[in-house]
Assembly symmetry: C2
Homo-oligomer: 398 residues x 2
């Protein structure tokens, strides 16, 4: 019998999905499970995007250009200009989701054995992409006490080795919701220039900034054109996770020519998804106004509720739709499993993501969970009630 | 300035696309270019598939299961049963095209430095996927004189080293159109079992078999469940290249559990494409009857035409919609470029794929071209007229 690859054996299982069987079992027992574990919003996809698909009038669903449909990329240029990000259609390669865009970036910039620095906790799938590309993740801790702000520059300096090729940030951040400031990005710029690194910025939550705060993009940094790679996705922006449309964006010509070769090998990103994504750019501003209002209300429910639970703490982040909260628990993996296996309150329970899966450092995140506030306010209130009651009776309570 | 990866520098540019600028220039000069260089059929996508997309009635385009929508995978089980291929929904992982399915298979089975044996000429993008996965392609020559039949078993034996992990075949073959026989597959089975290898079979042209010949699938081989990986795609089957739906199929449970981890890291294959692909399974048989009749007529035009050209030779393959023809030329790259840059006949010319791009062995394919017969009979006749006239005046004629 032939042997599976070492790489395959190293691939991490999804920290979010490993609890799914327990959730399914709870549902079979008649318990309502509130899913706060995933980033699948319940918000409707803009009608304008769905209508474009419904009106698709071509006779053959052909390959698109490997970098994406030109009219879509041209329209993206206008979209980014709204955010004072000035690029051309040639600076864009459309990927099958932000996932493929990250793989293009990693494979184009990094070789097996190279290192990428990531402030932790971080989006868990970066681990999978890194194993896929054969590269090593070097985590730098950010702390719940600062709301998961950028770690001090000294921590980056300590982590840099001759194999360091890139730093990646997610801004606003998944899982913490933290919105990096201009000053923090300027700090990163200095490190990146000093050590000749690539700076990947995953800005898929660009629109999700609250409390009047403005998103400062890595593309706003001056003099960093050769280093910066923007990773984007329409999944969250238009609540259209299934269309699998993302983008890798950079002004580094050599890098984009290289990434295009990876894109050409797989021929084309999804055509139908691009049709939806192109139309979605004309989504009325009103859509986002309503969505943001809704998310702020949701965040406030979660943050306020948790902070009044004894022994719990939740920062009040300004972006995305996640929080990482500290709970008075012994082990978040055990707790999240227990919530599904052994607990219910008024025949309901809640599914959370153990924060351990967002840390590369063993032992971190044991008393933290990620909560995605992707449910209606009413359901969030019920979820928080469940969580409160659960903490009262959890045997591993600290 | 940070340096591009070695891997990125090694990525081959697409042999099919490198001539595009010359084709564009020819068109600008008012010359009609017949595109026989690509595998984008002109056949209409089945209406039933497009209608399913047009009738998409969900409010949110959600992620699907990472292995693909369950109802789609269940329906695929029925589709394969028609071909006497008996699998379950758990044996299937849906990929963003056959391309992603191949990457899943390579990454799950092979580590950087491992070797994969491929009879050449072969589908050029296997090179790109191999560089992506860090693995080494070991080509074994098949010969135009035999119509590109499977190379002798001795050639495989000679090529096998301790790093050999897999063999990949494409059946029916792109670029040669060759349809492997049951006997040839039994030969492969023996080698694979003897040396404990994976056997990848890219069967995306399953339906495209002519002259009453029947496709013998790698899945029909008995006692090879742990070794066999079927790569599939709906791109050519339903002339729906842009929906980006393919599949990796295997009965090897450990392998599928491993591949699923790669699939989970990128979350989901395209939802809209899956909706189209699921509906497409009900495409009436009549569609394929007509398509096959059309392709046979097209193939006959090309094969007959070339074989009456002095100094040219074209096998008469039984599958797919490609032929590799030998022409009396010095260098197929030069010739194909010359066709676009310096030649026209009645204000028309033809774009072919130099066969060199389908060989890994330097110097092979210099007097061969791949012709995709994806145009109407009438246009193919005009194309063949162009080619005939071109060979009369080409300065590098042998």
């Amino acid at each position: 019998m032939p042997v599976i690859s070492k790489k395959g054996r190293m691939m991490p299982a999804s920290p979010i999905r490993k609890l799914v069987p327990y959730a399914d079992a709870a549902k079979k027992r008649g318990i309502k499970v509130f899913h706060l574990n995933i980033g699948q919003p319940d918000i409707a996809t803009p009608k304008i995007a769905l209508d474009a698909v419904r009106n698709f009038d071509q006779k053959v669903v052909e390959y698109s250009h490997s970098a994406g449909i030109l009219s879509y990329r041209k329209k993206l240029v206008d979209y980014y200009a709204r955010f004072d990000i000035h690029i051309t259609a040639d600076d864009i390669i459309i990927g099958a989701g932000g996932s493929e865009a990250i793989l293009f970036a990693m494979n184009s910039c990094m070789d097996p054995g190279d290192e990428i620095i990531i402030p932790e906790p971080f989006y868990a799938n970066y681990n999978g992409f890194a194993v896929n590309a054969g590269i090593k993740v070097i985590p730098i801790p950010s702390k719940i006490e600062t709301g998961f702000a950028l770690p001090p520059i000294a921590d980056f300096e300590k982590a840099i080795t001759p194999r360091t090729k890139a730093i990646i940030i997610c801004n606003p951040n998944n899982p913490t919701g933290y919105l990096y400031s201009r000053e923090e990005l300027e700090t990163l710029k200095a490190i990146v220039l000093k050590h000749d690194l690539f700076l990947f910025a995953d800005e898929v939550y660009r629109e999700f900034c609250y409390d009047g705060k403005k998103h400062f993009s890595v593309m706003h940094l001056e003099g960093l054109d050769e280093n910066v790679v923007l990773i984007d996705s329409v999944s969250k922006r238009y609540s259209a996770c299934g269309i699998r449309i993302g983008a890798m964006i950079s002004k580094n010509k050599e890098l984009m020519a290289t990434a295009l070769k990876f894109a050409q090998a797989r021929l084309s990103p999804p055509t139908l998804g691009q049709v939806a994504a192109e139309a979605a750019i004309d989504t009325p501003d009103e859509y986002f106004v309503n969505v943001l209002k809704e998310y702020v209300a949701r965040r406030n429910v979660v943050v306020d509720f948790i902070n009044q639970m004894p022994g719990a703490f939740c920062p009040n982040p300004s972006g995305a739709f996640y929080v990482v909260a500290r709970l008075p628990i012994d082990d978040s993996d055990r707790f999240c499993k227990w919530l599904l296996e052994d607990f219910s309150y008024q025949n309901q329970t809640v599914m959370l993501a153990p924060a351990t899966g967002f840390y590369a450092t063993q032992g971190r995140g044991l008393d933290e969970v990620r909560i995605s506030y992707v449910l209606k306010v009413e359901d969030l209130k019920s979820s928080m009630n469940c969580l409160q009651e659960a903490l009262k009776v959890y045997p591993g309570r600290k």
